[in-house]
Subunit: 355 residues, 2 copies
């Protein structure tokens, strides 16, 4: 049962989350963003494997359904949010809305979030800002999985960043990357799919380079409660390490979430959001024309050997979303089996839910 | 005459800038930051080769001494500065002071700068913020020199970023890197020193990978007015390309400076500054303790093979500054000859100035 429409996957995910204790609204917000990641081709941040982690989180009390979105500190341009350990997607969507509102009023909104669970794919939040004709930035730390440059033990988290920039006639620019060579979810996806990794992505428990995704994890496999034995490596050596360290501090120290081993749950995210109102600086139309022109200049420039096209960040995901909206979302067998089993435990029939 | 003390280099630079038309204050601010770059070991951003570019800029009217620092737009948390083509260091230092003041008042200061010449090394401005117990961020675009990922023509600038983060007992974190594999100044420094480049830094005019720094430039060499024939490559493939594109937009489109080929002078910088007041989010002491702990965890963690030590971003530069403050600053022969000749043209005797 490997290929589902986004509607089938949505029904299944909503039913399962509600059965596990989420409210209608929570199940709907979380599912929407997970399915969107699958549609965009970013399976590591999609329904599988994340839904299983969330169900476990609900079961063991790490994720608290119905948690209050608490504005812990508030000024015209900044806020600090206590998420009270609710669903990350629910907390972070509201925080991004608040940042956009602050930017609308004062030109800039900066919001930190603590006591927050996994927010999923960062690009979705950056995109909320650009859909409001603003520039969006979001960064998040989590539990340690990445070795510092020159080290071999997991000290930093994958510390991803995402930037959303509106264009005029062209598609917007959406940058979204982990400051490690790859996100942990990508290694897990490779593990589920039985694929090898490129050299340089991970080291094993002895600090040796490895192409086997299993070497990242402590047994037993597949990792239900993720425990690392090896470490991910930073992207681009000292540059990814430097940017990652900044994100560790912005997400961890500036929000009070904590850094490195202070983050003990694999579901925790310390989040920093920044939104800029473009008209505060230059007229919106002029900005969009400049961005359009830049995009066209890039796409029209001569290609390097072995490239058939020059892509704008976000473009592969936009295209994949169009493609999968028609062709459906393929779920690997192992992941599907996990999902069917999770449904069974809540008295749900997966096959029936997608009929 | 290859090794000077920072005082000798300062005297020489101040005298030459004043002879070329800079005010006392301009000559002093610009020199201070150029010499600081030399001390930190970042020669590409030091007195040589930049002083010669600035002298040429003064001569051909690109740099306007005595230019007014004009606050073009102003709100409590944001501002847009018209630098009126003055010295970048003078404009940007004042803009950073203004951003710090805004952050002190409102928690955050975001400032864009247009009509601005070369600001030099970004880390110095990020450091101003952290010395005020704030988090500083600065990014700048310039004229095109970097190919997009998948391309081979110079469309983007090197689009550097710098972040300054205060620590408590430990040295602060200062991240500063170009989103290209290397800054253009590093290629020029290699050219002056007669060194080869690592493979993957540049492509020649035909898009072929090259290790010869001369392949980046159009003849004649050495490049007095820099004109590129080849292109620099982005750091870390699509990640450096993505971050670089964001900086191109923040520095170029959001400030009105312009992007890519719209920037025609090699001395232009479009600048975006962001300063965050830490206490707006968490107590300062708690923040500093968290950062100290993170730094100690990283430095105390097991090293990768072939590394004798794990460094914190900024640490190599702090150490080099201590070292060169004692040992002096070595100036390559070609660069020194250029400097002596520039002095001669203004009736100054370089040898005498450093006596």
């Amino acid at each position: 049962m490997p290929t589902l429409t986004s509607l089938q996957l949505t029904d299944l995910s909503v039913a399962l989350l509600k059965a596990a204790g989420a409210s209608d609204q929570e199940a709907s917000v979380v599912t929407k963003l997970l399915v969107k990641a699958n549609l965009a081709g970013v399976d590591s941040h999609g329904v599988l494997p994340n839904l299983i982690s969330y169900i476990n989180g609900l079961r063991n009390g790490v994720i608290k359904p119905g948690a209050k979105f608490e504005i812990f500190k508030d000024t015209p341009s900044t806020a600090l949010i206590n998420g009270n350990w609710g669903f990350g997607q629910v907390i972070c969507s509201r925080a991004m809305e608040l940042a956009i509102e602050k930017a609308r009023q004062t030109g800039v909104g900066v919001i930190g979030i603590f006591n927050c669970n996994h927010i999923g794919r960062l690009a979705d939040y950056a995109q909320m800002a650009l859909e409001n004709d603003m520039i969006g930035f979001i960064a998040a730390n989590s539990d340690p999985s990445v070795a510092p440059y020159g080290g071999r033990k997991a000290i930093l988290s994958t510390n991803p960043v995402s930037y959303g920039i509106p264009a005029g006639q062209e598609r917007p620019i959406v940058v979204d990357f982990a400051t490690s060579m790859a996100a942990e979810g990508k290694i897990r996806a490779a593990l589920y799919k039985g694929q090898q990794l490129p050299l340089g992505w991970i080291v094993d428990s002895q600090g040796r380079p490895s192409t086997n995704p299993a070497d990242l994890y402590a047994p037993p496999l597949p990792p239900e409660q993720i425990k690392l034995a090896g470490a991910l490596l930073p992207a681009g050596g000292h540059k990814g390490y430097g940017l990652g360290l900044v994100v560790e501090v912005l997400g961890g120290a500036l929000t009070g979430t904590g850094c490195s081993e202070e983050v003990t749950s694999g579901l925790t995210n310390g989040v920093l959001i920044l939104v800029l109102k473009i008209e505060q600086f230059v007229p919106l139309e002029r900005f969009k024309e400049t961005v359009d022109k830049l995009i066209r200049t890039i796409k029209g420039s001569p290609r390097a050997e072995s490239f058939s096209e020059i892509l704008i960040p976000g473009e592969p995901e936009f295209r994949e979303e169009e493609r999968r909206s028609k062709s459906g979302i393929w779920i690997p067998e192992t992941a599907w089996a996990n999902l069917v089993e999770a449904c069974r435990q809540y008295g749900l029939d997966a096959e029936n839910l997608i009929r």
